[in-house]
């Protein structure tokens, strides 16, 4: 009973630490993005709230929390209220299976630095990201506005298309590691990261995951200049904030997954595991911000053609080649 209780407390502490870190970094990622995007465009970025604008995330969240939560008259109320939570929740849940360090020993008992090491962790991630579509699609539909509906439809189409190439791009990784568990995948990369042997998979996964998180150049669901704000046009206050948190947590999860599948997870010299994972996550996030500062938005037909005619066949060919190598 005591052992169970200790285990339970450790689990709660782990969840609290991970959740706190994720949300804290999400808030500061917004600051980093605005600052860096500003410099990429030869601007300064936020610099009013605190030194270098460091208090900007706090000011933003205070603003979001105190703003009126407007629910328009013609919306489908329940779905409208729940949709942002779906987006934020699925993004946060994906992190539950990401290992962030070697087992540590505390008081004679090993504590794995992962919240849940299930043997189908990779499929769990797919499941969560495919459920994230509902937040976007239903949020757009329930708003009962033409911009939101168009954004929701675009989001649904885009996300189910690119989920396919994400799945296919990870098949070679599973073939090499021989397991769906992220802990095993990271352990298999102790000697060399998979990006060295699977560069094609890496690129396909990076592009598709970027499309999955609806970032520029794949931000068609929220295309500002044609759809207002797309699926979250009608949202205000903290419900809009939840969509926002979902997006930035998604960036971190994407960074963590990229690190786990291709960059060797928490493996790295000198520094402890969680620090390495954080460094890799941040590196991916910075590259994504750089991409956002450079590339324009794709057109809808380009997006679909790119996903179905280039990424999916490339991923399939990559699977066949990897299979041949694994057999030999």
């Amino acid at each position: 009973m005591i052992a169970w209780l200790v285990g339970f407390i450790v689990l709660i502490v782990k969840i609290a630490v991970v959740l706190g870190t994720l949300l804290f970094i999400a808030a500061y990622l917004v600051w980093v993005e605005r600052k860096l995007l500003g410099r990429l465009q030869v601007r300064l970025g936020p610099n009013r709230a605190g030194k270098f604008g460091l208090l900007q995330p706090i000011a933003d969240s205070l603003k979001m929390l105190t703003k009126e939560d407007i629910v328009p008259e013609a919306v489908d109320r329940t779905i409208f209220l729940l949709a942002p939570a779906v987006v934020a929740l699925t993004a946060l849940l994906m992190f539950a299976v990401v290992p962030f360090g070697e087992d540590i020993t505390l008081g004679g008992r090993p504590i794995p630095l992962v919240i849940s090491d299930i043997n189908v962790a990779l499929l769990f991630i797919f499941a969560m990201s495919s459920l994230g579509v509902y937040g976007v699609a239903l949020g757009g539909w329930a708003s009962n506005s033409k911009y939101s509906l168009l954004g929701g439809i675009r989001g649904a189409a885009q996300m189910i298309s690119y989920e396919l190439s994400i799945g296919l791009s990870l098949v070679p990784v599973v073939m090499l590691a021989g397991s769906f568990s992220l802990v095993d995948i990271v352990a298999a990369q102790a000697r060399y990261p998979y990006v060295l042997v699977q560069p094609v998979s890496f690129i396909i996964f990076f592009i598709s995951a970027m499309a999955e998180s609806k970032r520029i150049p794949f931000d068609l669901p929220e295309a500002e200049n044609e759809l207002g704000a797309g699926f979250h046009t009608e949202y205000s206050g903290m419900r809009f904030g939840l969509f926002f948190i979902g997006e930035y947590v998604h960036i971190q999860v994407l960074g963590a997954l990229l690190a786990v599948f291709f960059l060797g997870g928490w493996h790295g010299p000198y520094l402890p595991g969680p620090v390495w994972l954080l460094i890799k996550m941040m590196a991916v996030a910075l590259v994504m911000i750089w991409i956002r500062g450079t590339l324009p938005r794709l057109r809808y037909d380009q997006l679909m053609a790119f996903g179905w005619k280039i990424l999916v066949p490339a991923a399939l060919i990559n699977i066949v080649i990897t299979g041949a190598f694994v057999l030999i």
Partner: protein, 187 residues
């Protein structure tokens, strides 16, 4: 590589990759450039003299107020934020008994300035005119009147007007022909 279609396909890919690389290197270089942002409250950019912001009522070179209360600015104003009451001095010179601009409504379009025949009403570059209380945005004549000629330093309406006032009698104004003596002009 002998197949022409193959080379063009490859060329397409190489071309788009190099184009992307060009874009990324440009943004990367921008990262190390000095930002061109002008930080407003610390640095106030000198605005052009003719930029349109707070409205003033100017005086002529002799120090009299230029406004003759003709109501043209009030009529031209698309948001009807100018109101006044005209009256006349003993020497025949017209002026506004009171003159009021509601800056809460003003859109700073400058149509009043264009309509004004005496260059009295003018817009200035001073745009820092925010108030917490909207009622303090209503400016009376004493708030509007300034001690200079604004953008038009020399013009004095009554020197040209041909109206008898303190600036001279009949025929004594600039570009005015001598007054005709009707008694000597008989056929």
């Amino acid at each position: 590589m002998s197949d022409p279609k193959q080379t063009s396909w490859l060329g397409d890919i190489l071309g788009s990759v190099s184009a992307m690389a060009g874009g990324f290197s440009t943004t990367f270089k921008h990262l190390f450039r000095k930002p061109i942002t002008e930080e407003y409250p610390e640095y106030k950019r000198p605005l052009p003299e003719r930029s349109r912001a707070r409205i003033i009522l100017t005086r002529d070179p002799d120090g009299d107020e230029r406004c003759v209360a003709c109501y043209l600015c009030s009529a031209a104003c698309p948001v009807s934020c100018i109101s006044m009451q005209s009256t006349e001095r003993e020497d025949g010179r017209r002026y506004a008994a009171w003159f009021r601009i509601n800056f809460g409504r003003c859109i700073y379009c400058g149509l009043c300035e264009e309509a004004c025949p005496t260059s009295a009403i003018q817009l200035t570059p001073d745009f820092e005119n925010c108030r917490r209380d909207i009622l303090t945005m209503v400016f009376e004549k004493e708030d509007l009147l300034v001690d200079h000629g604004g953008k038009d330093k020399t013009y004095n309406f009554y020197r040209y007007a041909g109206v008898v006032s303190g600036k001279g009698g009949k025929g004594e104004h600039v570009k005015e022909k001598k007054a005709v003596d009707v008694k000597t002009n008989l056929p």
